[in-house]
Protein backbone atom coordinates (compact mmCIF):
# COMPACT_ATOMS: atom_id res chain seq x y z
CA UNK A 1 0.00 0.00 0.00
CA UNK A 2 2.64 2.42 1.11
CA UNK A 3 4.43 2.55 -2.23
CA UNK A 4 1.30 3.75 -3.92
CA UNK A 5 1.60 7.17 -2.33
CA UNK A 6 4.85 8.11 -3.98
CA UNK A 7 3.38 9.38 -7.25
CA UNK A 8 2.54 13.01 -6.83
CA UNK A 9 -0.98 13.73 -8.07
CA UNK A 10 -2.49 16.72 -6.31
CA UNK A 11 -6.24 16.79 -6.06
CA UNK A 12 -6.35 20.12 -4.28
CA UNK A 13 -6.99 22.32 -7.31
CA UNK A 14 -10.29 20.64 -8.16
CA UNK A 15 -11.26 20.67 -4.49
CA UNK A 16 -10.67 24.42 -4.29
CA UNK A 17 -12.55 25.14 -7.51
CA UNK A 18 -15.46 23.02 -6.32
CA UNK A 19 -15.71 25.35 -3.29
CA UNK A 20 -15.20 28.55 -5.27
CA UNK A 21 -17.89 27.64 -7.81
CA UNK A 22 -20.12 26.57 -4.91
CA UNK A 23 -19.90 30.01 -3.31
CA UNK A 24 -20.72 31.62 -6.67
CA UNK A 25 -23.55 29.20 -7.47
CA UNK A 26 -25.25 29.66 -4.10
CA UNK A 27 -25.92 33.27 -5.02
CA UNK A 28 -26.61 32.87 -8.74
CA UNK A 29 -28.85 29.83 -8.37
CA UNK A 30 -30.92 31.58 -5.73
CA UNK A 31 -31.15 34.62 -8.01
CA UNK A 32 -32.07 32.43 -11.00
CA UNK A 33 -34.88 30.70 -9.10
CA UNK A 34 -36.15 33.96 -7.71
CA UNK A 35 -36.15 35.77 -11.05
CA UNK A 36 -37.73 32.98 -13.07
CA UNK A 37 -40.35 31.74 -10.61
CA UNK A 38 -41.23 34.68 -8.37
CA UNK A 39 -40.55 37.81 -10.42
CA UNK A 40 -41.55 36.23 -13.72
CA UNK A 41 -44.09 33.46 -13.46
CA UNK A 42 -43.69 30.05 -14.97
CA UNK A 43 -46.86 30.15 -17.05
CA UNK A 44 -45.93 33.41 -18.71
CA UNK A 45 -42.65 32.31 -20.30
CA UNK A 46 -42.16 33.40 -23.89
CA UNK A 47 -39.22 33.60 -26.25
CA UNK A 48 -39.55 37.38 -26.29
CA UNK A 49 -39.05 37.71 -22.54
CA UNK A 50 -35.93 35.58 -22.55
CA UNK A 51 -34.76 37.62 -25.52
CA UNK A 52 -35.27 40.87 -23.62
CA UNK A 53 -33.12 39.63 -20.72
CA UNK A 54 -30.45 38.03 -22.87
CA UNK A 55 -29.74 41.11 -24.98
CA UNK A 56 -28.34 42.81 -21.88
CA UNK A 57 -24.63 42.11 -21.72
CA UNK A 58 -24.53 41.74 -17.91
CA UNK A 59 -27.33 39.19 -17.85
CA UNK A 60 -25.93 37.35 -20.89
CA UNK A 61 -22.44 37.05 -19.41
CA UNK A 62 -23.81 36.11 -16.00
CA UNK A 63 -25.82 33.28 -17.58
CA UNK A 64 -22.79 32.04 -19.53
CA UNK A 65 -20.71 32.08 -16.35
CA UNK A 66 -23.59 30.35 -14.54
CA UNK A 67 -23.64 27.62 -17.19
CA UNK A 68 -19.89 27.05 -17.05
CA UNK A 69 -19.59 27.02 -13.26
CA UNK A 70 -22.69 24.85 -12.82
CA UNK A 71 -21.37 22.36 -15.36
CA UNK A 72 -18.00 22.21 -13.65
CA UNK A 73 -19.50 21.92 -10.18
CA UNK A 74 -22.00 19.25 -11.23
CA UNK A 75 -19.72 17.12 -13.38
CA UNK A 76 -16.83 17.37 -10.93
CA UNK A 77 -19.21 16.36 -8.18
CA UNK A 78 -20.24 13.28 -10.13
CA UNK A 79 -16.59 12.42 -10.81
CA UNK A 80 -15.74 12.79 -7.11
CA UNK A 81 -18.65 10.60 -6.11
CA UNK A 82 -17.34 7.87 -8.42
CA UNK A 83 -13.75 8.19 -7.17
CA UNK A 84 -15.08 7.94 -3.62
CA UNK A 85 -16.61 4.63 -4.58
CA UNK A 86 -13.20 3.36 -5.61
CA UNK A 87 -13.22 4.05 -9.36
CA UNK A 88 -9.69 3.55 -10.68
CA UNK A 89 -7.49 2.51 -13.59
CA UNK A 90 -8.73 2.52 -17.17
CA UNK A 91 -12.35 2.80 -16.10
CA UNK A 92 -11.47 6.01 -14.34
CA UNK A 93 -9.81 7.38 -17.47
CA UNK A 94 -12.85 6.41 -19.54
CA UNK A 95 -15.25 8.08 -17.09
CA UNK A 96 -13.08 11.19 -17.09
CA UNK A 97 -13.21 11.36 -20.90
CA UNK A 98 -16.98 10.76 -21.10
CA UNK A 99 -17.70 13.39 -18.45
CA UNK A 100 -15.37 15.83 -20.20
CA UNK A 101 -17.13 15.37 -23.53
CA UNK A 102 -20.56 15.59 -21.94
CA UNK A 103 -19.74 18.89 -20.24
CA UNK A 104 -18.29 20.27 -23.45
CA UNK A 105 -21.45 19.37 -25.37
CA UNK A 106 -23.59 20.89 -22.63
CA UNK A 107 -21.66 24.16 -22.59
CA UNK A 108 -21.63 24.45 -26.40
CA UNK A 109 -25.36 23.79 -26.61
CA UNK A 110 -26.06 26.27 -23.80
CA UNK A 111 -23.97 29.00 -25.38
CA UNK A 112 -25.62 28.44 -28.77
CA UNK A 113 -29.05 28.80 -27.15
CA UNK A 114 -28.02 31.95 -25.33
CA UNK A 115 -26.73 33.43 -28.59
CA UNK A 116 -29.98 32.48 -30.36
CA UNK A 117 -31.90 34.46 -27.75
CA UNK A 118 -29.60 37.43 -27.78
CA UNK A 119 -29.37 37.39 -31.58
CA UNK A 120 -25.60 37.27 -31.46
CA UNK A 121 -23.22 38.15 -28.64
CA UNK A 122 -24.59 41.38 -27.11
CA UNK A 123 -21.55 43.64 -26.98
Amino acid sequence: MAERYTSFEPGGTRWLWQRLTAAFLVIVLAFHFFLLHFVNHADEVTFAMSEARMTQLTYFSLMILFLVTATFHGVNGVYNALVNQGLSGSRKTAVKAILGIASLVLIVQGVRTAIAWAGGVPI
Partner: protein, 131 residues
Protein backbone atom coordinates in the same frame (compact mmCIF):
# COMPACT_ATOMS: atom_id res chain seq x y z
CA UNK B 1 -5.26 -16.58 8.34
CA UNK B 2 -6.79 -19.06 6.03
CA UNK B 3 -9.85 -17.17 4.95
CA UNK B 4 -11.75 -14.07 5.83
CA UNK B 5 -15.34 -13.07 5.71
CA UNK B 6 -16.67 -9.87 4.21
CA UNK B 7 -20.14 -8.95 5.36
CA UNK B 8 -20.97 -7.02 2.22
CA UNK B 9 -23.77 -4.51 2.02
CA UNK B 10 -25.10 -5.28 5.49
CA UNK B 11 -22.29 -3.03 6.69
CA UNK B 12 -23.34 -0.06 4.64
CA UNK B 13 -26.74 1.21 3.63
CA UNK B 14 -28.52 -1.66 5.33
CA UNK B 15 -27.58 0.16 8.52
CA UNK B 16 -29.36 3.39 7.67
CA UNK B 17 -31.13 3.43 11.02
CA UNK B 18 -27.80 3.88 12.72
CA UNK B 19 -26.60 6.79 10.57
CA UNK B 20 -25.77 10.06 12.27
CA UNK B 21 -26.60 13.63 11.22
CA UNK B 22 -23.39 14.15 9.26
CA UNK B 23 -23.97 10.94 7.33
CA UNK B 24 -27.54 11.91 6.43
CA UNK B 25 -26.35 15.35 5.36
CA UNK B 26 -23.86 13.69 3.04
CA UNK B 27 -26.45 11.29 1.59
CA UNK B 28 -28.95 14.09 0.95
CA UNK B 29 -26.27 16.31 -0.52
CA UNK B 30 -25.16 13.56 -2.89
CA UNK B 31 -28.73 12.74 -3.88
CA UNK B 32 -29.73 16.36 -4.50
CA UNK B 33 -26.47 16.86 -6.37
CA UNK B 34 -27.27 13.99 -8.76
CA UNK B 35 -30.78 15.37 -9.29
CA UNK B 36 -29.48 18.86 -9.99
CA UNK B 37 -26.83 17.75 -12.47
CA UNK B 38 -29.43 15.59 -14.20
CA UNK B 39 -31.77 18.56 -14.32
CA UNK B 40 -29.02 20.81 -15.69
CA UNK B 41 -28.68 18.57 -18.75
CA UNK B 42 -32.43 18.28 -19.40
CA UNK B 43 -32.87 21.99 -18.72
CA UNK B 44 -30.40 22.93 -21.45
CA UNK B 45 -31.94 20.34 -23.78
CA UNK B 46 -35.42 21.85 -23.34
CA UNK B 47 -34.17 25.42 -23.61
CA UNK B 48 -32.31 24.66 -26.81
CA UNK B 49 -35.64 24.30 -28.61
CA UNK B 50 -35.07 28.06 -28.94
CA UNK B 51 -32.51 27.13 -31.60
CA UNK B 52 -35.27 25.79 -33.89
CA UNK B 53 -37.57 28.80 -33.85
CA UNK B 54 -39.10 31.36 -31.52
CA UNK B 55 -42.52 29.75 -31.77
CA UNK B 56 -41.17 26.25 -31.07
CA UNK B 57 -39.62 27.46 -27.81
CA UNK B 58 -42.67 29.36 -26.60
CA UNK B 59 -45.10 26.53 -27.37
CA UNK B 60 -42.82 23.86 -25.83
CA UNK B 61 -42.34 25.77 -22.57
CA UNK B 62 -45.97 26.80 -22.27
CA UNK B 63 -47.17 23.28 -23.01
CA UNK B 64 -44.87 21.93 -20.30
CA UNK B 65 -45.78 24.59 -17.77
CA UNK B 66 -49.50 23.97 -18.24
CA UNK B 67 -49.10 20.42 -16.92
CA UNK B 68 -49.70 19.89 -13.21
CA UNK B 69 -47.10 17.13 -13.08
CA UNK B 70 -44.42 19.50 -14.33
CA UNK B 71 -45.39 22.07 -11.71
CA UNK B 72 -45.21 19.49 -8.94
CA UNK B 73 -41.85 18.33 -10.24
CA UNK B 74 -40.74 21.95 -10.14
CA UNK B 75 -41.64 22.18 -6.47
CA UNK B 76 -39.54 19.05 -5.98
CA UNK B 77 -36.71 20.71 -7.87
CA UNK B 78 -37.00 23.76 -5.64
CA UNK B 79 -36.78 21.58 -2.55
CA UNK B 80 -33.74 19.80 -3.92
CA UNK B 81 -32.03 23.06 -4.94
CA UNK B 82 -32.76 24.85 -1.67
CA UNK B 83 -31.46 21.96 0.40
CA UNK B 84 -28.34 21.71 -1.75
CA UNK B 85 -27.76 25.45 -1.35
CA UNK B 86 -28.29 25.52 2.41
CA UNK B 87 -26.35 22.37 3.14
CA UNK B 88 -23.72 23.63 0.69
CA UNK B 89 -23.36 26.75 2.80
CA UNK B 90 -23.04 24.54 5.85
CA UNK B 91 -20.29 22.57 4.11
CA UNK B 92 -18.48 25.76 3.09
CA UNK B 93 -18.41 26.79 6.74
CA UNK B 94 -17.19 23.34 7.70
CA UNK B 95 -14.41 23.71 5.11
CA UNK B 96 -13.46 27.02 6.66
CA UNK B 97 -13.34 25.34 10.05
CA UNK B 98 -16.24 27.38 11.41
CA UNK B 99 -18.83 25.87 13.73
CA UNK B 100 -17.69 22.26 13.50
CA UNK B 101 -19.20 21.50 16.90
CA UNK B 102 -22.63 22.54 15.64
CA UNK B 103 -22.49 20.58 12.39
CA UNK B 104 -25.45 18.39 13.34
CA UNK B 105 -27.58 21.35 14.40
CA UNK B 106 -26.80 23.24 11.20
CA UNK B 107 -27.89 20.18 9.21
CA UNK B 108 -31.23 20.07 11.02
CA UNK B 109 -31.56 23.82 10.54
CA UNK B 110 -31.01 23.51 6.78
CA UNK B 111 -33.62 20.72 6.64
CA UNK B 112 -36.22 22.80 8.47
CA UNK B 113 -35.46 25.94 6.49
CA UNK B 114 -35.78 23.97 3.26
CA UNK B 115 -39.17 22.73 4.36
CA UNK B 116 -40.37 26.22 5.25
CA UNK B 117 -39.18 27.79 2.01
CA UNK B 118 -40.70 25.03 -0.11
CA UNK B 119 -44.08 25.13 1.63
CA UNK B 120 -44.16 28.92 1.35
CA UNK B 121 -43.39 28.70 -2.38
CA UNK B 122 -46.06 26.17 -3.31
CA UNK B 123 -48.76 28.77 -4.17
CA UNK B 124 -46.39 30.67 -6.46
CA UNK B 125 -45.22 27.50 -8.14
CA UNK B 126 -48.72 26.22 -8.80
CA UNK B 127 -50.18 29.57 -9.90
CA UNK B 128 -52.00 29.61 -13.24
CA UNK B 129 -51.95 25.87 -13.79
CA UNK B 130 -55.11 24.20 -15.08
CA UNK B 131 -55.98 20.98 -13.30
Amino acid sequence: MSQSYNRGLIEDFGRWREFSAGMWAWIFHKFTGWVLVGYLFTHIAVLSTALTSEAAYTTTIQALESLLVVRILEVGLLAVAVFHILNGLRLLFVDLGVGLEAQDKSFYASLILTGVIVVASVPTFLAGVSI
